[in-house]
């Protein structure tokens, strides 16, 4: 599935989106760690359909997924 990347994480990945497979947010985190060097040491949140998800939830593949580094607005 397509995963949107932002800020520091997009910079580390060298892309603003990445194609990763996972049937849950937990699997997605593992897959992303394998693809983006240093992600395991970075602070980030996963947004599913534009809402931050802390728990491990199943994914169908049709959701809008984004990986978000710490916010810096204001």
């Amino acid at each position: 599935m397509k995963v949107l990347l932002f800020g520091l994480i997009a910079e580390k990945a060298g892309a603003s989106e990445i194609d990763v497979q996972g049937s849950s947010t937990g699997e997605l985190r593992q897959a992303l760690t394998g693809r983006i060097v240093g992600l395991d040491r970075m602070m980030y949140a996963i947004a599913v359909d534009r809402r931050i998800v802390h728990e491990d939830i199943p994914l169908t593949g049709s959701e809008e997924i984004a990986v978000l580094p710490p916010f810096a607005g204001g």
Binding site: L8, A66, P70, F71, A72
Partner: protein, 151 residues
């Protein structure tokens, strides 16, 4: 319900810095609203923090736009629920490169009396900083950079 209280999705983002003249114009537009007795305003300015001994020269802002606007709509709705007397609320945030000393964020709340306007602005500013997926790349001399994190 007045037109200003309808909770449609508004685009808060502006490309480039917020012009101080725009701030003045925003206030002036409320002159015809005679139910307003108080405006409270917060303006965020890009600060020249030192990062590793180097001064921040500008911040390049990007955002996860769709999520930010969705979150902002929810914040607006909650603000109007918490302060029902509030007449209107205007939020603007810059995207792109904003130099140190330029304005990047504006929250303007208007109400019949000062208390609602004051409290709403303080609350909305905090929520925008904590909830909106906006990212800031601090540009340093020598073409290096650091990523800003809200505390």
């Amino acid at each position: 319900m007045s037109a200003t209280k309808q909770h449609k999705v508004r685009d808060i983002f502006v490309e480039g810095p917020i012009d101080p003249d725009f701030v003045g114009e925003s206030i002036a537009k409320h002159a015809t609203r005679h139910d307003i007795g108080a405006h409270e305003i917060f303006l965020g300015q890009v600060r020249g923090d030192e990062v590793d001994g180097k001064p921040v020269q500008a911040i390049a802002y990007t955002a996860y736009r769709d999520m930010a606007l969705e979150r902002m709509t929810a914040i607006r709705e909650e603000a109007f629920a918490r302060w029902p007397s509030m007449t209107c609320l205007h939020v603007h945030h810059s995207l792109g490169t904003i130099k140190t000393g330029e304005l990047c964020f504006m929250v303007l709340a208007s109400a019949p009396h000062r208390q609602a306007a004051r409290e709403a602005v303080a609350w909305v500013v905090d929520r925008v900083k904590s909830d909106l997926p906006i990212f800031g790349k601090e540009l340093l001399p020598d073409s290096t950079h650091a990523w800003k994190v809200n505390r």
